[in-house]
Symmetry: C2
Subunit: 333 residues, 2 copies
């Protein structure tokens, strides 16, 4: 069975392409009998509009590029789901793009050598700095996600990281912890994310008159939980002295949980632990994680709204939106 085109349907129904197009798009001013006749032809021929033709004619693809480090990191998987759910009613589909946290890949997202495929992009940078991003001036409508790098000229949606870090650290202090460490920042090349969370962590200590102790900072080699297992275990064996650990994200917290358990320390009795992201599994670890919970559905919705406005032609300065977060208190702290 060969391909059926709009013209074929028109011929079959004895009308023009325009009329068939009207029927397909539920255009108002079509007489019922005409509509029925055309619909019949569509059904008989099994006509399916070819989206490539439509896209070329309208100049819009209905595709949004969603780019971040790695879909296998639970936070990003959950983010992708939220975005994909929010995109559907807006008539957009999501095309997945992973950067692997390399500069070249991130840059090539902004400096695309081809055009037309995407109507817009949602991009959570991880290694590019604000200045580098600003220098690229993507010609695709773009909204940045997360706390990393955002030039004033571009839209961005995030949660207030320093505030959240301060809150969750204060929660630990309020429960009597004093020897509070931090787990999960990069060994070198601190990301903006880590920087902001560390800043909030330190601020909370300062607020409470606690002297921050650099020996309680535990960097990791990778963003997965294993990186934290290795790093924390090693530092515990070296005599790390803490009664609480603020982790950069839930994966680091899960790794930390394992390292502590493995060393024979009990959570939260010996050491309290907090996470960040509130990934689904954080409620099921043992003990379950006290964590920072960003409102991901709102984040996705807002980002998509801003992007839609850009696509529609809005050309003003960058809007930097902050969406809500909360501290979810569970067993680990």
């Amino acid at each position: 069975m060969k391909r059926v085109r709009l013209q074929d349907v028109a011929d079959r129904a004895g009308v023009s392409m325009k009329t068939v197009s009207n029927v397909i798009h539920d255009y108002l001013h079509v007489s019922p009998q005409m509509r029925a006749r055309v619909q019949e032809a569509i059904d008989e021929l099994g006509y399916k509009p070819n989206l490539l033709g439509r896209q070329l004619a309208t100049g819009r693809s209905g595709l949004i590029r969603l780019a971040f480090v790695d879909i296998s990191l639970p936070y990003f998987a959950e983010l992708a789901r939220a975005v994909s759910i929010a995109a559907r009613p807006a008539g957009y589909r999501i095309l997945l793009e992973e950067t692997g946290a390399t500069y070249d890949t991130e840059r090539s997202l902004l400096q695309d050598t081809e055009s037309g495929l995407f109507d817009g992009m949602l991009f959570q940078p991880s290694v590019m700095t604000s200045a580098q991003i600003a220098a690229c001036r993507p010609d695709l409508p773009t909204v940045l996600l997360g706390e990393a790098a955002a030039p004033l000229t571009m839209d961005r949606v995030m949660i207030d990281n320093p505030a959240a870090a301060r809150e969750i650290t204060s929660h630990l202090i309020a429960s009597g912890r004093r020897r509070i460490g931090f787990v999960g920042h990069e060994e070198s090349g601190l990301s903006e994310t880590s920087r902001q969370r560390l800043a909030g962590y330190q601020q909370a200590l300062d607020d409470a008159g606690i002297q921050p102790d650099p020996s309680r900072l535990i960097a990791t080699k990778s963003y997965d939980a294993m990186g934290a297992v290795t790093a924390v275990t090693q530092r515990l064996e070296a005599g790390l002295d803490v009664d609480a650990l603020v982790c950069r994200d839930d994966l680091a917290a899960i790794g930390t949980l394992r390292a502590l358990n493995h060393t024979g320390l009990s959570v939260p009795d010996d050491v309290a632990v907090t996470g960040w992201d509130d990934i689904k599994l954080s409620a099921v670890t043992f003990p379950s994680l006290t964590t920072v919970s960003p409102d991901v559905p709102v984040l996705a919705t807002r980002a998509l709204t801003l992007l839609t406005e850009r696509i529609a032609g809005y050309d003003g300065m960058g809007r930097h939106e902050v969406v809500p977060h909360q501290i979810v208190v569970r067993e680990s702290a």
Copy 2:
């Protein structure tokens, strides 16, 4: 700055569109000086080929639809990553589609009312039966993923579920367990996946001359870990008598771990636990999970190869491929 088209570049360089096109596609027979002149025009104008035009002209979009239940389930996130990595060198991009495990959504994937956007589809069904899928006859080249429903006419890639279930259950038996339960199948409407894993589990018990005990089967209300926490906790409180639990997947196992810990039972001393999928976190739980590890990269690669062949026009019977798996023994069993 307005859009630059192929014709603009051609005008600028004083050549025809064809020549510009040749340069862009690294066509062999172009004189070096011509190539240089055209390239200069491309650079000066900042020309970026419009993919929509190309797609319409070639009839191929370079897009593959990847459809499964829910990207926020770690196994699917890891699968998506593997597919997206395998797709890149083949020149394909991945468009994400979640079915939410509903019949209507799965069906609408196969009965698409539009065409042209995708060159092919990778689809892991979860609720449709083989007969239902066969009845739909998608007109898009399609390869099915996973053990669920696959008509003889369609390609499919999976691991040998009954064998793997039998192996991991036998591993428990070999380590002296006898009162072995199963966790994580659906309360009603057993999926093909659960059916096959239960079959292998039962086979292993039969092999060892152990009488399967239906009271040791623990169904769950959802595929997330929470479903297992609830179900297992409840059954433990009701006096469940087991020394091992084979879980349908790692999420169920993680939930089971928590339920056991919470009840004061130790893993693996009191109860051994096994998972399925070898998601990244299964190495970091405490205790870490003994689990079935499908070779996901190979699965993704093979699926993509079969799909590429279909796209290229292969029209033979369905190929049903089995990719390797192994039992990864960790602390939990």
